[in-house]
Amino acid sequence: MTSLSAFFEKIAQSKKNQIILFLTYVIVTGAGLFLLPDSTIAFLLLLFSILILYYLNLNLRAKWVTGIVILAVVVPFIASFSDSYQTYMEVGTLVGIYCAMALGLNIVVGFAGLLDLGFIAFFAVGAYTYAIFASDQASKFMPFGHYPLSGGTFWIFIFIAAIVAAIFGILLGVPVLRVRGDYLAIVTLGFGEIIRILLNNMDHPINITNGSMGIASITPPSFFGISIGSSNQFYYIAFAIFLLVIYVVRKLEYSKLGRAWKAVRDNEIAAQSMGIPLVKTKLAAFAIGASFSGMMGVVFAAKQMFVDATSFTYLESTMVLVMVILGGMGSVPGVILGAAVVIILRTQVLTNISNWLSAMSSNYGISIPPALSPEKMQLLIFGILLIVFALYRTQGLIPHKNRKVDVAKLKKESEQAALTRKKTASGGADS
């Protein structure tokens, strides 16, 4: 193994070799998926190329363009030859949805250091916002208007849901700001449960959410008259929103607000004394984090065509938290990786092993008790992951890196500034 990695290192020295190596990898795995269209493994290996890309020594723009091309063109194109095309794209859509949510939670937990255990509530708010108006549910309590709204409104609803979820984020934030640390975790947990119970019960006295029956037959979105119904189409919607989210997060991370969040996270009192407005900063974290999940909630509702409160339990909130912890709190690429790993583990790997086990028992008569099925062991697996990562790798899969500041350059700049100040001051005295 060591000789192998030494060999690779030698090759990987130069940039050209790296690019060649990477392209070979993409072509080989792409061909693998093409030739073995039903192999989930080939599909996963192809996706893995994105992670390799992240570690290459290329400039940022080239990485971005390559990544987008691979995800938006190469993967769907090759997968479309497979019978499992829709399954692959469904997984892709889910990864996109959860990545955006995990990035949202990352702002709250990773950047601002506020542990939120009820994050799924905002997802629920987004999903219900679209579901109510895109089905005939709205006509049950709205005195005016004609429902269901057409599929074209889906695009507007993405932004409406973002705003509504942000408002809920602020509503949660206002009372919560007075409590700190551990208490915050419990209050947000309570808030998440309250939202879920309310959604499950608001069918009387006024029928707003149709209670536990859920809202069925949600209008699928339409794009210039084309109705969008299959996973490969939703994949692009999720991907586009994901790109938007990642752009916003990237911009925010190094902005004034982003630095304020990190300051609040590291020491609230010190941050406050440096003039950071505590309330505004924390509320901004809640609102922005919530709006990401609200947007994805709309996509989720449109994709499932059915929403009910069972999709928004405490377990889902912790799953998003697992993604953030696994990937690395505060680290944007880490969180994306974490979300992808958890979703792929949940929907592909564990399911495949379970199916294989049950096929074993029916084909060869080896009886494996259903209790042993790894699919049911999800809680155990994710629990152990949480413990192991918290104990041994607190910083996650891809640790968060602060942007390096060149001290010499800064010094020079400040000296220069001082010099010019002196000059103007002395110049002022001369005249």
Binding site: M1, I41, F48, Y55, T87, M213, Q304, N355, P370
Partner: protein
């Protein structure tokens, strides 16, 4: 460089996945027969696992029983059983898996209406026929999807049938209704309440409980204080059993009534002796009534070492309807493997299928014209309960 760290990681992942790949061979047909798979989706884990497992085993038995017929024509039928965990998201993901497997031509499932509704949207997109043994919510077939069928009765038949029995036969004038705030429980309880009101009974309370809790004394003390003639519970055995027990502890001696969610041996296990005097409506008939059913129960016990649950026979019959349709589709396709469209059409056209518990003729919505509701009474702490009445549409 960072690549140094990536390479071993990659190697490990590749190894792991390679190992996985090595042990998941695509199941080919043994002895040269064409494989046709029938999917099954039901909760094999979670609160209603007893019911879900019964469906799976029933379907398995049906396939084993008729394997010979298909082998003669050169086909081998396999069951691809998935666990939907009673979770809509899991159901949809599983539905995608079934839809992407070319060999799967039809699905037996689901138990929960909340899971069946979104999953059936996926089946419908992929022309995959579904026959449900147990989903009773009205919406399931009211959407008029060509692929969605069920062999059991609807909630707007089961609920009112229970109300008729409660008001007319048990002479209940004041009724207290409790439901578990799930799609199944509240759907059923609402239908019951509306019919009972129409028949002139007074609904003295309509309350919800939280699934997963164990203490229902709060709701029950309110119920008992109102001195109803009957308490109705819409929900599943895990809570139903406890409600029965705690109501009896509170000194309520009148009849308690529930829906098919209570039709399980676990109800008796949880409620113990308190189960005496409990009535329930079920869409599943008592198999021990007919000779055919008794033979089925015996075989089931021999095969799986478990007693039949109410839904075992329904899983069997749902699979039976599929196999009938499949046979027709094969014959219609000159003995070749039919397409999903052909199977969907053939299943919808099934008429007068004679199963172990029910006759099946599907109408244009996919509902069974012969679906019946049965009323049972626990006279002692023993499962199955005694059948009191049989109501047809």
């Amino acid at each position: 460089m960072k690549l140094k760290r990536v390479v071993p990681l990659l190697a490990i992942i590749a190894l792991l996945i390679g190992a996985l790949a090595a042990c998941s061979p695509k199941s080919g047909g043994s002895n040269g027969k064409t494989v046709i798979e029938i999917g099954s989706q039901s909760p094999l884990s979670g609160g209603s696992a007893t019911l879900g497992d019964a469906i799976r085993l029933g379907a398995k038995l049906a396939i084993e029983d008729r394997q010979k017929e298909f082998e003669k024509k050169g086909f081998q039928i396999k069951l691809k059983d998935l666990d939907d965990q009673g979770d809509p998201k899991k159901g949809v993901a599983n539905a995608q898996i079934l839809a992407s497997d070319k060999d799967v031509l039809a699905v037996v499932g689901h138990l929960n209406s909340g899971v069946a509704i979104p999953s059936s949207e996926v089946y419908n997109k992929n022309n995959l026929a579904m026959v449900s043994p147990a989903t009773t919510a009205t919406v399931v077939t009211d959407r008029k999807l060509p692929t969605v069928n069920r062999i059991c009765a609807r909630d707007d038949f089961q609920g009112p049938a229970g109300a008729n029995f409660a008001v007319k036969t048990l002479k209940a004038k004041k009724i207290f209704v409790i439901q578990d705030k799930t799609a199944y429980g509240s759907g059923l309880a609402e239908q019951f309440r509306d019919q009972a009101k129409k028949l002139g009974a007074e609904i003295v309370g309509y309350e919800g409980i939280t699934v997963g809790e164990k203490d229902f004394n709060g709701v029950l003390s309110q119920a008992v204080a109102k001195k109803p003639d009957l308490i109705y519970f819409g929900g599943v055995y895990a809570e139903g059993g406890l409600i029965i027990k705690q109501a009896r502890q509170k000194g309520f001696d009148g009849p308690i009534m529930g829906g098919d969610g209570l039709d399980s041996s676990s109800t008796v296990q949880i409620a113990g002796d308190s189960v005496k005097g409990v009535y329930l409506t079920s869409v599943a008939g008592d198999v021990s009534k007919t000779e055919k059913g008794q033979a089925f129960a015996k075989k089931y016990k021999k095969e799986f070492g478990k007693n039949v649950e109410s839904y075992s026979a329904y899983g069997y019959d749902a699979a039976g309807v599929i196999l009938d349709g499949l046979m027709k589709a094969i014959d219609g396709n000159d003995g070749k493997k039919p397409t999903r469209e052909q199977v969907t059409k053939a299943i919808r056209s099934v008429q007068n299928y004679d199963g172990v518990t029910t006759k099946v003729s599907l109408d244009d919505k996919g509902d069974n014209k012969f679906a019946k509701v049965y009323i049972y009474n626990f006279t002692e702490a023993k499962y199955p309960p005694v059948q009191k009445a049989e109501i047809s549409q």
